[in-house]
């Protein structure tokens, strides 16, 4: 530690919580009484870092803000009531809180005021509105500080040590989670991720300072690693190994909390950059340059992994190593199994998720091959699984219809098959596509529109496909019991389906409250972990035989 004098916090308040907050921030507190002395004290003390004011005298407050503003010192207002808040806005203080407040909350406010002033000196010169600042400084979801805050806090440490390692954690396919499950789910997943990353870092007894940084409303994190004086910097091999361990730690935690379907979508790529301090280059520029370098490194790791995965997929196609999980769709009133959705999974762990496997296939132009293999497996499994009138729901890509080998089935009656087309894939040539659907329909196949209601397209595009089944998007079902807009949209869809002669399926039912709500709305078919988990045909047949 340096022996420089500690920063001062100047205040007219005698609040004990404020004193504790100053302790958290490692600042000395200087009390000025009466408050009218504050403006003069600001000018008198050289090392004042922040001012916390509790006065309810507006002209005095104005004078304090002016004096502080002239020296670039942030002002935090400790208000007692709503009037204080209006003043806070009117006089443009840097932050405020409602007293009494906890020491932690006060320290949080002071930090954000400090960071706000720091950000103004490096950021755009115009004043941004308060709420947007808040977003810039702390990621609301993960509670992590953003870069301007961290730079302020670590500046001294980095100069002292002379170097820092910047790690860039690139979380891929989180946008996919949002696309499939909706933003509420993504929020939960991000929270889990952030806390897992933090736990991982805390559990490792590195004699270093580590600062997590979140990017507001984005999926990526960075963290700065500053080894204590006298400790060696980690080697590249150590950094790579730590990244590998972090990946499996976070992956396992996601699987525990959110299940395999979500965790198998998850990937993390870590890039690092070593930055040496030099007084010739502006500190902020140095760090931002390092962040860019680390981000590029993370991207090249991702590229290598992509190549590796394509090779794995080719192996899967060659050996036929995919298997099918069947996920029951049940009648919501009786709970009887109405049919099964076939979910194709790759045997290698990194292709376990159907979404990922098909994404890799699309990049490598291998979708037809993969689709054929998956369909053949699904039909073989269904043959032993389906009883009575039960149906097989098969996911198909609109491009599959152009495959001459598609729809040639000798093992199973087409009337037992429902082809699921996702609303997400853009269908370019509608008339031609409908023509193809018609020829399949004539042979007895039925159709379902998958992920219905996921976009803004409305009901017209669904009507266009004349489906027999409408599968509601998972995002509409997640927490439907507490969201009345979702309930209204699903009601609309149920009414629409009746007019069209189609049946609605609610998938992604995970809680009994969700099941009760969709039953009350009149959704006839349901699917989800609450009712059944997906399983292989053999296991499924056994379970159901045992139940009878």
């Amino acid at each position: 530690m340096t022996t420089a004098p500690r920063a001062f916090l100047l205040t007219d308040s005698a609040d004990g919580a404020l004193a504790e907050a100053a302790e958290i921030l490692q600042m000395d507190i200087v009390r000025v009484n009466p408050a009218s002395e504050l403006p003069a004290s600001i000018d008198a003390h050289a090392s004042v870092r922040v001012i916390v004011v509790s006065t309810d005298n507006p002209s005095l407050l104005r004078s304090i803000v002016e004096h502080a503003g002239a020296r670039g010192i942030p002002v935090v207002l400790a208000g007692e009531n709503d009037i204080a808040y209006r003043r806070a806005i009117e006089f443009r203080v840097d932050d405020w809180y409602l007293a009494p407040a906890t020491p932690v909350e006060i320290s949080w406010r002071i930090r954000s005021a400090l960071a706000r002033v720091a950000a103004q000196t490096i950021g755009p010169t115009h004043r941004v509105d308060r709420a947007e600042y808040e977003e810039m400084l702390y990621d609301p979801l993960t509670g992590m500080a953003t870069l301007p805050v961290v730079l302020e806090r670590t500046r001294g440490l980095i100069k002292d040590r002379g170097e820092v390692i910047i790690h860039y954690l690139n979380f891929v396919r989180y946008s996919k989670i949002e696309e499939i499950y909706g933003w509420e789910k993504l929020d939960q997943v991000l929270e889990t991720t952030a806390s897992a990353v933090r736990e991982f870092l805390d559990s490792r007894s590195l004699t270093t300072t580590r600062m997590m940084v979140g990017f507001p409303n984005d999926d990526d994190f960075i963290f700065l690693q500053i080894p204590d004086k006298g400790q060696p910097m980690p080697t590249d091999a150590q950094i790579t190994e730590a990244g590998r361990q972090l990946q499996s730690f976070v992956g396992n935690r996601l699987e525990e909390v959110h299940g395999e379907d979500v965790s198998s979508l998850f990937d993390i790529f870590i890039g690092s950059a070593h930055v040496y301090y030099t007084p010739k280059i502006r500190f902020e520029r140095l760090i931002y340059r390092g962040v860019r370098e680390a981000a590029n490194a993370a991207r090249s790791v991702e590229q290598r992994e992509r190549v590796r995965r394509t090779a794995t997929l080719k192996g899967v196609l060659h050996e036929g190593s995919v298997y099918i999980d069947f996920h029951p769709i049940v009648l919501s009133e009786s709970g009887d199994i109405f049919g099964y959705e076939a979910l194709a999974r790759g045997v290698p762990r990194n292709l376990r998720s159907p979404e990922v496997m098909f994404e890799v296939a699309a990049e490598a132009d291998l979708v037809w091959e993969l689709s054929r293999l998956c369909r053949a497996r699904a039909l073989a499994g269904a043959k032993e699984l389906l009883r009575g009138e039960q149906l097989l729901f098969l996911n198909v890509d609109p491009h599959d219809f152009a495959d001459p080998g598609f729809g040639v089935l000798d093992s199973i009656d087409p009337r037992r098959i429902v082809l699921e087309i996702t609303e997400r894939t853009a269908i370019k040539d509608y008339p031609k596509f409908r023509e193809r659907l018609r020829s399949f329909r004539e042979r007895g196949f039925r159709f379902a529109v998958d992920d219905a209601g996921s976009g803004y397209a409305g009901l017209g595009s669904i009507a266009n496909l004349e489906p027999d089944f409408i599968k509601l998007d998972i995002s509409l079902i997640n927490s439907i019991d507490t969201n009345f807009i979702k309930q209204n949209l699903v009601e609309t869809m149920v009414g629409f389906a009746k007019e069209q002669g189609a049946m609605v399926i609610a998938e992604g039912i995970e809680r009994s409250e969700e099941l009760e709500t969709v039953k009350r709305i009149g959704v006839p078919l349901v699917q989800g972990f609450l009712l059944h988990h997906p399983a292989r045909a053999g296991a499924m047949a056994g379970v159901h035989a045992g139940r009878q």
Binding site: G79, D82, Y85, R86, A88, I89, L98, P100, D129, R130, A131, E134, E135, Y138, P140, L141, G143, W183, G453, G455, Y456, A457, G458, L459, S475, T482, N483, F484, I485, K486, N488, L489, T492
Partner: protein, 132 residues
């Protein structure tokens, strides 16, 4: 601090007449009501008063109700707990989708039917988890 036991409601509408009608109804039903006339004022009051429910007009100058809703949801301590009802003249499928995307819990179509408003306020408050 003065905090009564009934859950408080923040009404945000740039039209004074609308805001007053809604305030009068809700106060007559015993709810403490705060009124904000634009987005910035709404966010400041949201942060200071921590209302249990916000009635938020979509069409406002400067910050739209959508933006205000999104900002409130991002509040680190209170963003999840609050119930947000949008007041809007637009109630097509895609308008409701946008309401969902910004994080709203419910919506009321304008012109406002006061009986409907009261019903929706009550059913949303019923889902507020009581906490200190």
């Amino acid at each position: 601090m003065d905090r009564s036991s009934a859950p408080s409601i923040l009404v945000v509408d740039d039209n004074d007449d609308n805001a007053e009608i809604v305030r009068a109804l809700l106060e007559s039903r015993g709810f403490p009501v705060l009124v904000a006339h634009d987005g910035d004022e709404a966010i400041a009051l949201f942060e200071s008063a921590r209302p249990s429910l916000v009635l938020l007009d979509v069409l406002m100058p400067r910050r739209s109700g959508w933006e205000v809703c999104r900002l409130m949801r991002q509040h680190p301590e209170h963003g999840r707990a609050v119930r947000i009802i949008m007041l809007t003249a637009l109630a097509e499928w895609n308008d409701k989708q946008s309401a969902l995307q910004t994080g709203a819990d419910d919506y009321i179509t304008k012109p406002i039917d006061l009986a409907d408003l009261e019903l929706r306020v009550r059913r949303n408050l019923a889902l507020v988890t009581p906490h200190a």
